[in-house]
C-alpha cells in the first residue's frame, strides 16, 4: 500500500494546474520567458479559464514560441512576424466568446509589428497582450531591438546610440485602458498583473522585462538580470480579489487604492511611491520618463482606466459567435435577391 498523498489542488472547474501546462519549453535554460509562461499557467488556473475558450496568438521570435508551452488544451496560432494583432482581431470578430492571449516580443511588437499593435490598441480589441521584452533579437542571435536602452552594449561590445521606444508610454498615449510593466524576476507582481489583465475588458498591455540569458545578460547590458534587479522600482504592492471569491485575502496591509474590474474582480494597489496615480495617464507618463532618466524602470500598474468601449461595441455585431451562426441566420432568402434585382431593373 502506498502512503496517502495530499490531494492535488483543483480550481472551480475541477482542473489542476497540470491541466494548464503545455509542451516542454525549448528556449535556453534560464530564459526569462519561461518564468512568464509559468505565471500565465498559474493565472489561467486560478482564474478558472476554460482552456477550450482560450485563443493563444503570437508572431515570430523567441517570445512567440511560448504559446506552445502553456494551455495545451487551448487553440494556438503562431502566425507571422509582427502580425499576431491582426490574426487576433480576426479571431475576436469571428467569436466574441474567446479569451485572447497574445504573446509578442520587443522586436515583434515595437519594430515590424508596431503599426498593428497601435491599431489594435486604438480599436481596443479584447486581449491580454504580453510583450516579453529583452532588448534584443534572440532568435537571429543578438541584434539590438528598438527597446534597447541608450548606452546598452551587445555581447561583442557594440553600443546602442539611439533612444529606445517604450511600449507602455506609447500605449498610454494611445488610450490603452490597462498598461502594466513587470519583470520576469518578480513572479508575485507579474502573477497579480496577469490575473487583473484577464479580468479586464479590452486591450491589456503588459511589458515584461525578460532578460535574454544568451545574448543580453552580460555586465554592460542594461537588460541583464542583475541590471534589472538593481534598477527595478515597483510602484505598488498589488493585491487581487477574484470575482468568484470575494473573501480571498490577498490585499496588502495598509491603505490601498481599489479598482473594480469589469468581471467583478477587484485590484488593490498599495502605493510604494506616494506620488504615482495610475488613473492619471499624463502624470504617470511623466513619472515613467523621469524614472528612466534616472536609470530606473518602474513596474506595476502604470495606467488603468475601466469602462472604455471595446471593438465589439464599435462593431455592433451579434453576441453569439458569428463563426457558427446557422445558414438560416446569414443567408437571406430568394425574396431578398428578387428585391435587389427589382431595384436594378
Amino acid at each position: 500500500m502506498s502512503a496517502p498523498t495530499a490531494p492535488v489542488p483543483t480550481n472551480q472547474l475541477g482542473l489542476t494546474r497540470q491541466d494548464y501546462v503545455g509542451a516542454k519549453s525549448t528556449l535556453c535554460p534560464g530564459c526569462g520567458h519561461d518564468a512568464i509562461t509559468a505565471q500565465l499557467i498559474q493565472a489561467a488556473f486560478e482564474m478558472n479559464l476554460e482552456p477550450h475558450r482560450v485563443a493563444k496568438l503570437s508572431g515570430i521570435g523567441c517570445s512567440s514560441k511560448t504559446p506552445t508551452y502553456f494551455l495545451s488544451q487551448a487553440w494556438g496560432f503562431n502566425s507571422v512576424h509582427g502580425r499576431a494583432a491582426a490574426v487576433c482581431t480576426g479571431a475576436a470578430l469571428a467569436n466574441k466568446q474567446l479569451v485572447n492571449i497574445l504573446v509578442s516580443g520587443d522586436g515583434d511588437s515595437m519594430s515590424i509589428g508596431m503599426g498593428q499593435m497601435v491599431h489594435m490598441i486604438r480599436r481596443n480589441v479584447p486581449v491580454v497582450y504580453i510583450i516579453e521584452d529583452n532588448g534584443v533579437y534572440g532568435l537571429t542571435k543578438g541584434q539590438f531591438s528598438a527597446t534597447a536602452d541608450l548606452g546598452s552594449a551587445l555581447k561583442h561590445g557594440e553600443i546602442n546610440e539611439m533612444p529606445p521606444l517604450d511600449p507602455c508610454t506609447l500605449a498610454m498615449e494611445l488610450g490603452c485602458g490597462f498598461v502594466a510593466r513587470s519583470f520576469s524576476g518578480n513572479p508575485k507582481q507579474l502573477g497579480v498583473i496577469l490575473k487583473a489583465a484577464l479580468a479586464f475588458r479590452g486591450t491589456a498591455l503588459i511589458d515584461v522585462i525578460s532578460p535574454c540569458v544568451t545574448f543580453n545578460n552580460h555586465e554592460s547590458s542594461t537588460r541583464s538580470y542583475k541590471a534589472a534587479k538593481d534598477h527595478e522600482l515597483p510602484l505598488q504592492e498589488l493585491g487581487f480579489v477574484p470575482y468568484f471569491d470575494q473573501d480571498e485575502v490577498e490585499i496588502p496591509a495598509g491603505e490601498a487604492r481599489e479598482v473594480d474590474l469589469p468581471d467583478g474582480s477587484r485590484l488593490t494597489l498599495r502605493a510604494i511611491r506616494d506620488d504615482f496615480d495610475p488613473t492619471d495617464r499624463f502624470a504617470a507618463d511623466r513619472a515613467i520618463h523621469e524614472a528612466r532618466d534616472r536609470g530606473e524602470f518602474l513596474t506595476g500598474i502604470l495606467h488603468i482606466q475601466t469602462g472604455q468601449k471595446t471593438m465589439h461595441d464599435y462593431m455592433h455585431t451579434l453576441d453569439a459567435p458569428l463563426a457558427t451562426l446557422p445558414q438560416s441566420a446569414v443567408k437571406p432568402g430568394p425574396e431578398v435577391l428578387a428585391a435587389c434585382m427589382q431595384e436594378l431593373m
Binding site: 487551448a74 496560432f77 480576426g90 479571431a91 470578430l93 498593428q116
Partner: protein, 606 residues
Amino acid sequence: MLTQSGPAKTLAPDGLVNDFSIEVATVNGSGSQTANIVLMRTIFQMGVPVTGKNLFPSNIAGLPTWFQIRASRRGYQARKQGIDFLICMNAETAKDDVAKVGPGTVVVYDEPLKLDALRGDLHFCPVPFQRLVAACCPEPKLQKLVKNMIYVGVAAQMLGLDMDEVQKAIAKQLGGKQKAIELNQGAVLAGYQWAQAEAAPQDRLRIQRDHQTEGQIIIDGNSACALGAMFAGVTVVAWYPITPSSSAVEKLIDYAKEYRRDPATGKSTVAVIQMEDEIASAGVVVGAGWAGARAMTATSGPGISLMSEFLGLAYFAECPGVFLNVTRMGPSTGLPTRTSQGDIEMCARASHGDTLHLCLYPGNMEECFQFTYQAFDLAERFQTPVFVVSDLDLGMQNWAARPFSYPETAHDRGKVLDAEALARIEDWGRYKDSDGDGIPWRTLPGTPGGKGAYFTRGTGHNTYGLYSEKPEDFQYLVDRLKRKFHNARTAVPAPVYSGSGCQRGILAYGSSDPAVVEARDILLEQHGKATDYLRVRALPFADEVAAFIREREVVYLVEQNRDGQMAALVKDFYPELATRLRSVLHYDSTAIPAQTIVDQINACEK
C-alpha cells in the same frame, strides 16, 4: 408630353440604327456621371442592348474623363473603337477629342469652344449651354451640375430617344429626391426643346425601340460580388480602401445594413472592419477563417502584394478565406483607374516558396455574383485562400445582365469536427489526410469537450500540427497541399466551350469575353475564319483546357496584360502544349476591343 419628332425625317443610306457609340468628354468632379448614366439607361429602357464605360482619372476634380456608351443591336458588350456621337464638354481636351473621330461623326459641343473651325467633315452642333442652364436653373451653384442634363436633352432629341424614358431614367437615378428630379427633368427638356428648334438635324444615327433588354438589370461587378458575398453568409470582412475595389465593400455594407440584421436584436450578422492596411486586412481574414468565420477581403493588385505573406501562411496552415482582387493596371501604382488582367500569375502563386492558390475568373455579372458565392464554399471545403479575380472593367463599369438566379445550394462549411464528432474519434491529427483526398479535418477554437485543440503554425509541422524539421514531414506536407490543389479542379467552375470542332481555337478568360464573342463573329463574317472558343473560369485548370489545346493546331490565348500571364500558367501545367499557343495581348490600360483580337489573329496567319 412631347411628340417623338425625331431628328431628321429619314435615315441616310449608311445610317446606323441601334448600333453606334457615344462618347461624352467632361471634367471629373463636374457631376456628369449621373447625366451619362441617364443617357445609357434611357437606351436600355428602350430595349436596346447597351454598355457604359467610364474612363476616369485618379483624381477628385478637374482632370479629363470620358464616358463611352455603346448601343449594339447584336448585343455586343465590348468596348468599341471609333466614336459616332461625340459630346465635348471639356475645353482642355476638345481639340484632341475632335481630332480623333472619323468623318461624319456628330459633335455636340459648348458653343464658346468654336470647334467647327477645326474640321470640315464632321456634323457640328454648337450648344449655348450657359444660356440654357441659366434659364432653367437660377441657382448658380447648381448650374455646373445641371448643365450636364442639357446635353442629355440635346442628344435625346438628335438620336430620337423617347423623352418619357429619359424622365423615368432621371427619377430612377436620383432615387426619390423630388426637387432634384424636377430640376434635372427641366434641364433635359430645355436641351431637347433647344435642339428641336435650333440644331441641324442629323440623319446618320438613330435609336429605335427594341425589346432585347426586357427584364434585364444594370449592375457593376463590384455590386454583384457584394451580393454574392452577402448570400454566401460572409461574417467577417476586413478591408483597406483601394481603387477599384472599394465599392465592393461599400456596397456590401449597404446591403448588409438592410438584409443582414438579426431580427430579434437588430444587430449585424456580419462584422465589416476597415483596417490600417492590406497586411492587417489579410491577417484578419486568416484569423477569422481560422476561428471558423466566412471571411473575405476586397482589394486590388498593390493590396495583394502586401497580403502575400499572409496568403502564404493561409495556404500553408490551411486557413480558409476569400480574396477579391479587382485588378487595375500595374506595376507599382500604375494606372489606378484603368483596367488590366495583370495579376494572373501573382494571384496564382502569391507568397514565397511553392504556393498555389485557387483562382476564379468571372467573365460577366452573373459570374461575379455566383463565383463570389461559390468562393466561400471552396475556401472552406479546401481550407485555403480563394481568389476571385475580377478587374476594373467588370467591377466598376455598368453592364446589362439577366437578373441573377438564387443560389439554391446549401453553404458547404467543409470538414469541421464538432465536440460530438471529436468524442468518437480516437486519434485525430489536424493535418492527417484520413480521407485520402488531401483535405484534413479541422476544429474550431471554442469547441468544448477537451479534445480537438491544436497548434496552428507557419513553420514546418507534422500531421498532428506539431513543429517538425524532419525532411520527410515537410515533403509529405507540401506534396499533400499540391494534391489537394489538384483535386479542386473538378470542384471549381468548369470552362465554357463554344464552337464546332475546328482547328483554330481561342482561349480567354474574365472581362475579355465580350470582345472574343464579337471578334469571332467578325472573323467568320468578314474574314471567313471559323473559331472554337474555350473560356477558362478557374485555376486549377479543368482537364478540358488541355484537351482543347491538344485537339487544335493553334490556340490564341487572349489576355489583357503584356507578358501573357495566363499563357505562362498554361505552359507551366502543360509544357508539351506550349508550341500550339499564340498570345493575343492588349495592355494599353483600356478595355480590350474586338478589333484588336481580329487584327492580331489575322497578323499571325498572314
